[in-house]
């Protein structure tokens, strides 16, 4: 879990006109961890993700991913890094004119010299790995449910076996069972492939289930980073409300080992 950070942000500033979203923002992501990024609506989570991905140039600061300075290096270096990360956008961002399997094959076609059969095999493997039914392969994005689109998007993000995966609200819009399955999938893939995962999420259950550390975006910077236990000790009104509000208590209750006992103890009381 230690070692040089795989992603490091230093002194990032993002402004839209006169509105400052980020100011002097620092963040490190360690190799092999699942980092959750939380923050209130409008706190600039998506802007931060776009900044890390190099889709937005910050007004100040430096973004290093896998040792490459995304903001200042030339296009060739950036392209090399882009092949080593995968991104799952909020609604999958699948190419609507291609079937699921063709979507998954896009990076293979562009960046490898695999024979067509092998491409089919690799894409089929990724399709199964993210838990999609075999029949989904030839469907088009418009024929899929939201959850299936996310899974297909994840398969496409994973097809090049990237070192880092960015997930933008991976469980938003999924039913609780589907969301839990997606959490398990991410943890599973992290273990199997040694992935580093950066996920924006609002889902408290996801935070408890898969995130090794959580970064809190507040007051225009990363206000705190740490395990949930550490964050619970941070004194900030938004954080306190976030973790100890009604939803936070429930998520903590069902996910934490101590909470599970407490929950079990309460069951007879509720039945009475």
């Amino acid at each position: 879990m230690t070692g040089t950070p795989i992603i490091s942000l230093r002194g990032i500033a993002n402004r839209f006109g006169t509105v400052t979203v980020h100011e002097n923002l620092d963040l490190d992501v360690r190799p092999g961890e699942v980092l959750g990024l939380i923050g209130g609506s409008g706190s600039g989570k998506s802007v931060l993700l776009r900044t890390i991905l190099g889709l937005r140039r910050p007004q100040a600061g430096e973004v290093r991913v896998l040792g490459v300075d995304i903001t200042h290096s030339d296009e060739a270096a950036r392209r090399a890094v882009r092949r080593q990360w995968g991104v799952l956008f909020q609604d999958g961002a699948l190419f609507s004119s291609l079937s699921v399997i063709e979507n998954i094959k896009v990076p293979l076609r562009e960046f490898t010299n695999l024979p067509p059969d092998a491409m089919d095999d690799v894409a089929a493997l990724k399709l199964r790995m993210v838990g999609l039914a075999p029949e989904a392969a030839l469907k088009y994005p418009s024929e899929l449910s939201g959850g299936m689109r996310k899974r297909a998007g994840l398969a496409r993000a994973l097809v090049m076996d990237p070192a880092v995966v960015f997930l933008d609200e991976p469980t938003a819009g999924l039913d609780p069972i589907g969301a839990a399955a997606f959490d398990a999938l991410i943890a599973d893939l992290r273990d199997a492939l040694g992935l580093t995962v950066v996920m924006i999420t609002h889902d408290l259950d996801s935070l408890y289930a898969v995130c090794d550390r959580v970064a809190v975006l507040a007051e225009k910077r990363i206000y705190a980073v740490g395990t949930i236990q550490e964050l619970l000790r941070v004194d900030h009104p938004w954080l306190r409300e976030y973790f100890t509000g009604p939803r936070g208590r429930v998520a903590a209750g069902v996910s934490g080992p101590a909470g599970r006992d407490a929950h079990a103890g309460q069951t007879p009381a509720q039945g009475r």
């Binding site: 092949r83 609507s96 004119s97 079937s99 399997i101 063709e102 293979l108 960046f111 490898t112 010299n113 695999l114 024979p115 092998a118 089919d120 095999d121 690799v122 089929a124 493997l125 990724k126 399709l127 199964r128 790995m129 075999p134 029949e135 392969a137 030839l138 088009y140 994005p141 418009s142 097809v159 090049m160 076996d161 199997a192 492939l193 040694g194």
Partner: protein, 429 residues
């Protein structure tokens, strides 16, 4: 950075048993060198060769090294499959089943694609009857192999590759079936529209006049400049071209007849219809399509509003009212253009042109042109709205159907025009 070249040690197939021996491959591989068959390596013997006849267990050691990842296994795939085929041949020879050792001790990086390739090869060798033994010292790699092996991809359907001829025939057949189905549903749509329209006409206060007037402005008033300019230019060009031909016969004055027949009877209304199809037909599809994609139409239905009444009737009615007006403007501008060209190229003064024009003009020509306009408007409006409702979810289908709406309505307008020409001819107008 990852190593880009996966060195692949040439396997050996010998009669005597050989363990994979790390010392034999001591020293770091220079990337790129081991891709070519190393001269020091023993070339595999043919299974039916002298060594294969030695008896005893036949053993093959495949030593993998370097990075076996998705970026670099491409050039290794064919080679490995070649080895699999060799093992298959060896199995076909009577005797003890060959033993294949897969040695991954020197693999620096293995990803799912690499693991899948190895598993697939091992499975094919095992299926041929060989006994496959894995040597995977790295725990992570062995876990990855187990994982990949556990995933069954056989059920994933493959896009079938068909021959170009069959593919073309298939596409033609599919498009014919689709067109026929579309003809059926567009007639159904027209029927629904007429029923809704009849209901609306019976209770005119139910018509959405604000919406109708809005669309009259959008499809009619705003189209005036482009329609006027284009028909003016066409009238101009027709007169120029005509005057050149007529001058040869000394019959310059017949240019006026040419302008009169061509503009009033055919070009005015046809050009207007084509411009409107491109301008308004496409926008009907795009507007309604975007609403369908955004679930606005479903929201409307769930509130008890009839999309036909809210969306289609105002658009089509507005177009039916405005296209004759635009046609009249087009006729006027076409004749004006023709008059100016006659004046400039033939010296027919505006006064003489007007006298001659009034003298020869038959009202029938003007009326036959104008009478077609509402029918063309109906075609354009119905096709545009119909294609809008066919949008399904994706933004891509909005674009595709918009194109289709324009192509289809232009096609139908021209076909209808031909039909009118035959009708009027047989009626003797």
């Amino acid at each position: 950075m990852r190593e880009t070249v996966p060195p692949f040690r040439e396997p050996t197939l010998k009669g005597d048993y050989r363990r994979p021996d790390p010392d034999a491959h001591a020293g770091p591989h220079e990337p790129g060198l081991d891709c070519t068959p190393a001269a020091s390596c023993v070339e595999p013997d043919q299974p039916d060769g002298a060594d294969g006849a030695d008896g005893g267990a036949r053993e093959l050691v495949l030593t993998f090294s370097g990075a076996w990842d998705v970026a670099s296994i491409g050039r290794m795939t064919a080679r490995l499959l070649h080895r699999c085929a060799e093992v298959g041949n060896a199995c076909a020879v009577p005797g003890d089943a060959p033993v294949v050792h897969l040695d991954l001790a020197e693999v620096s990086r293995l990803d799912t694609a690499g693991a899948q390739l190895l598993c697939r090869s091992a499975a094919s060798m095992a299926a041929a009857g060989a006994h496959v033994v894995w040597h995977v010292p790295d725990h992570g790699q062995s876990m990855l192999l187990d994982r990949v092996r556990a995933i069954d991809i056989s059920a994933v359907p493959r896009a079938r590759r068909v021959s170009p001829v069959l593919g073309a025939l298939n596409a033609i057949g599919a498009s014919i079936v689709e067109e026929l189905e579309q003809v059926r549903s567009i007639i159904g749509f027209l029927g629904m529209f007429l029923v809704s329209l009849a209901a609306a006409v019976a209770r005119p206060w139910r018509l959405r006049w604000v919406s109708i007037v809005h669309h009259m402005e959008q499809t009619g008033i705003q189209a005036v400049p482009i329609v006027a300019l284009l028909t003016f230019l066409i009238g101009l060009v027709t007169a120029y071209m005509g005057s050149e031909q007529f001058t040869r016969f000394g019959a310059q004055v017949f240019v006026v007849n040419l302008i009169e027949v061509s503009t009033l009877r055919e070009l005015g209304v046809l050009l207007t219809a084509l411009i409107v199809a491109g301008r308004s037909g496409s926008s009907f599809t795009a507007q309604i399509g975007a609403m369908v994609a955004n679930e606005e139409v479903d929201a409307m239905r769930s509130m008890g509003l009839d999309p036909m009444e809210v969306l289609v009737i105002p658009r089509v009615v507005a177009l039916v009212l405005m296209l004759p007006v635009l046609t009249f403007i087009a006729d006027f501008m076409g004749v004006l253009g023709g008059g100016i060209a006659s004046w400039l190229s033939l010296g027919i003064s505006p006064g003489a042109f007007a006298v001659r024009f009034l003298e020869i003009t038959r009202l029938a020509n003007f009326v036959t042109g104008l009478v077609k306009a509402p029918f063309f408007a109906l075609i354009i409006g119905i096709v545009g709205c119909f294609q809008g409702f066919r949008v399904t979810g994706s933004a891509e289908s909005v674009g595709r159907l918009t194109t289709q709406a324009v192509v289809e309505s232009i096609f139908l307008v021209i076909v209808a025009n031909a039909g009118f020409a035959i009708l009027f001819m047989s009626l003797g107008v």
